[in-house]
């Protein structure tokens, strides 16, 4: 059952309920472009917060009409990227995500997969990924697992999404995390919450897997990730990094060689 509409929201809710799809489309576009604000709120609430606040009190039919109008606006933007101010598109992407406009996902995906479209949206690339992230379900795990290869700077965001929709894939992704600050930082911010979501008897295995993945990274990245866990009360012991393993192996060879013949040297020297 819907909560009672707050008195101050009622005029706005009634106005949206009274709009057909064409009227909704025109109004939403004007709101996004900051040309009009008809809903109750303060200046900093426009346009997204005011629309989200009122949306909860709309009938299911009106919510659907709003969703369709927002999908149409995403398509319109895709067709005419240059005609829209960046702030309007940020607001549009926030709305499709927060109002869970599922249909917008298929309209945003071509922007990520086609190189020319991707380059054209420039500064809005993270906002597009963010909207897709919020709209993603378990069925999208394949898409997010491929992101580190296709868009390495979004690998950390892919990890964040996978922790919600497919924890196993999130763990797998850690094993081939690109060694860059953006990706590693995003993983570090999410890692403690991710470990917390496992049952106590699973945590040790998860931490071991994470430790193995961290050991593959550079010292700087490994330090960043290792720091994130103790802050949340988790301890990990890192296996030696590949560089350290190679050094240990060389030392072992050197001492073994001396066992065979005292004048053996490592690395071997050839006359």
């Amino acid at each position: 059952m819907k909560k009672e509409i707050p008195e101050s929201y009622k005029p706005g809710v009634d106005r949206i309920e009274g709009m057909n799809e064409a009227a909704l489309l025109a109004w939403l576009e004007a709101e996004l472009r900051e040309q009009t604000h008809i809903l109750a709120g303060k200046t900093e609430d426009y346009p997204v917060q005011a629309i989200v606040s009122h949306h909860a009190y709309l009938s299911i039919a009106a919510q659907k009409r709003v969703g369709h109008a927002l999908e149409a606006l995403v398509l319109e933007w895709r067709r005419n990227v240059k005609d829209w101010p960046e702030t309007a598109i940020r607001a549009l992407l926030s709305l499709v995500a927060e109002l869970r406009v599922e249909g917008a996902k298929s309209k945003l995906l071509p922007l990520v997969s086609a190189r020319t479209a991707w380059d054209r949206i420039g500064a809005l690339q993270p906002a597009v990924f963010r909207a897709l992230a919020t709209l993603s379900l378990n069925a999208d795990r394949g898409f997010w697992s491929k992101v580190p290869n296709q868009h390495p700077e979004f690998a950390g965001m892919a990890f964040q999404v996978l922790t919600r929709i497919s924890a196993e894939d999130a763990l797998q992704l850690l094993s081939h995390l690109p060694d860059n600050d953006m990706a590693v930082g995003s993983v570090a911010r999410k890692l403690p919450d991710f470990v917390s979501q496992f049952e106590p008897d699973q945590k040790a295995d998860v931490l071991k897997h994470i430790a193995g993945a961290i050991a593959m990274l550079s010292e700087k990245s490994a330090a960043m990730l290792k720091l994130a866990l103790p802050k949340a009360g988790f301890e990990i012991t890192l296996p030696p990094s590949p560089q350290k393993r190679m050094k240990l192996f060389s030392q072992q060879i050197a001492s073994s060689a001396k066992l065979v013949r005292r004048d053996n040297r490592s690395p071997l020297e050839y006359a």
Partner: protein
């Protein structure tokens, strides 16, 4: 200058037009009724600017008599939003602002994008929550960009309302400890259009030297917040406004307005009021 004094200085025709506008508003819904009452209690302006404002309202009274005169009201009020008495005694106060955490996260995300932070909306909100009471000096490197983004993100839009502890002493923070819950914050500082049961981020900051705090006028809160705004009829003496708490038993808090500023002067740690 009180409303009646300013009104008496208008031409006879404009006095009549203003009177007729107030009658239309007084017969309207609770919002327009309150707007009429607020205007008649206006004491926030130090000089003839109230007179000029009333003059503009009178000249635009036909358009302002429409059912929802938001854009007309705010257009006419533009020159009066930051026209209250200077709240000079509180220039050095540590000011407080509360913003819905979800809404603030939207404001922060363009800066985070620009700094190369690639987080989901859910993670941005979660990270802001983790910054509750987190000292910047002790924060791990992967949070540095969040502190920087907060400093470079505006602390509001338009006429920015802020509260403060009226007894201005060095280091006196505007928010009580322990941090009140979100619904107490919402009610105490009269954020009536915010949905209930949502977390707030609480900022404490000082104004840059070039920015003067002002008594809020009737135009400062815009149209929809007329419902929650109450002008201080003692503004000329107090040199600040008072919030009108949404629930009984809560103490009104002093408030001022100022122009938009970036978060450069925010004091960390920030605090989160949870619902």
């Amino acid at each position: 200058m009180p409303f009646n004094t300013a009104k008496a200085n208008l031409t006879t025709a404009n006095q009549a037009a203003l009177g007729s506008l107030l009658s239309v508003w007084a017969a309207g819904d609770n919002l327009t009724k309150q707007a009429a009452t607020n205007l008649q209690n206006e004491h926030g302006s130090a000089d003839r600017r109230l007179e000029d404002y009333l003059d503009k309202l009178a000249k635009n009274s036909p358009r302002l008599s429409a059912t929802s005169p938001k854009s007309e009201f705010e257009q006419v009020g533009k020159s009066f939003t930051l026209a209250g008495h200077e709240a000079t005694p509180f220039k050095g106060a540590i000011l407080g602002r509360a913003m819905l955490l979800d809404n603030y996260a939207r404001y922060l995300s363009p800066k985070l994008d620009a700094f190369g932070y690639r987080d989901t909306e859910e993670e941005i909100r979660a990270t802001i929550r983790k910054m509750d009471n987190e000292n910047e000096a002790a924060a791990p490197t992967y949070l540095e960009g969040y502190f920087r983004a907060i400093r470079e993100t505006p602390l509001g839009k338009g006429a920015v309302f802020a509260t403060f502890a009226k007894t201005v002493t060095a280091g006196q923070r505007p928010w009580p400890l322990p941090t009140p819950d979100a619904n107490t914050i919402r009610s105490t500082i009269a954020l009536g259009e915010d949905p209930e049961d949502q977390d707030y981020i609480l900022f404490a900051y000082r104004l840059p030297n070039s920015v003067v705090p002002l008594v809020p006028t009737t135009a400062s809160p815009g149209w929809f917040y007329q419902r929650w705004f109450r002008p201080n009829t003692n503004a000329a003496i107090d040199l600040h406004g008072w919030t009108a708490p949404l629930k009984s038993g809560l103490t009104p808090q002093p408030e001022i307005v100022h122009e938009e500023i970036p978060g450069a002067t925010v004091f960390f740690p920030i605090h989160i009021a949870t619902a």
